[in-house]
Amino acid sequence: MSQEIGYEISDQTIRYVIDETVYPLDAIYGASYLFVDRCFLFFGRAEDQKIEIHMKKRTDGGESLDELLGQFCNELLNQVIRFRLAESTAKIREYYMARAFLSHPAQNSIDSLLAELDAEELEDDELEISVPWEQGDG
């Protein structure tokens, strides 16, 4: 596994370099946000577009460091997909929101229906059929 993702462990700390062109900073923040309660994280700038992750376990028990890193990498991928999806659908979401908030015809049709109901109530019944609730004392 260490050869696949190229990490090194020393002093109970795992070091792993990730490429920012593959994993944008937003995705790294997203994954980190979910892991700060499980491990200690520190990021260093290894070189341009490369971030070195320093990960340390919070407690002695539980999963091993490389398992933790594997889970973190999976979450990174998940966050990248969310980020890319959000980017690619941003325009259509903005369009839907604009339609929902700014379109007048929907409101107009509700207004016209209400006006129609008001008009009906005011009209007299041509057949003058009496209804029980209109029959008073006289």
């Binding site: 900073l25 937003d26 923040y29 980190s32 946000y33 700060v36 200690f40 994280l41 520190f42 990021f43 260093g44 700038r45 971030i51 340390k56």
Partner: protein, 79 residues
């Protein structure tokens, strides 16, 4: 007590987040901050020798967490 030097890259961490974390951990460590062109160098001197590593690690997590919160606020979200 032993002092530790950390360099927080400004392309990853926010200065406000570092200051906020320094304020939050003021009771557990002494800090000195030095601004560099692309990073902020922090010298930490934990006040409790037995908890020194934990204090430093927790401080780094706090800076990261505050950075994420600030970053998301800047982008128009809350958390």
């Amino acid at each position: 007590m032993a002092k530790t030097n950390l360099s927080f890259s400004l392309s990853i961490y926010k200065k406000e987040a570092i200051e906020e974390a320094m304020h939050a951990y003021g009771a557990y460590a002494r800090f000195s901050l030095q601004e560099e062109p692309y990073a902020i160098a922090i010298e930490i001197e934990p006040l409790h020798e037995a908890l020194a590593t934990k204090i430093i690690d927790s401080f780094c997590n706090h800076v990261l967490f505050e950075t994420i919160i600030l970053h998301r606020k800047e982008k128009g979200g809350a958390l």
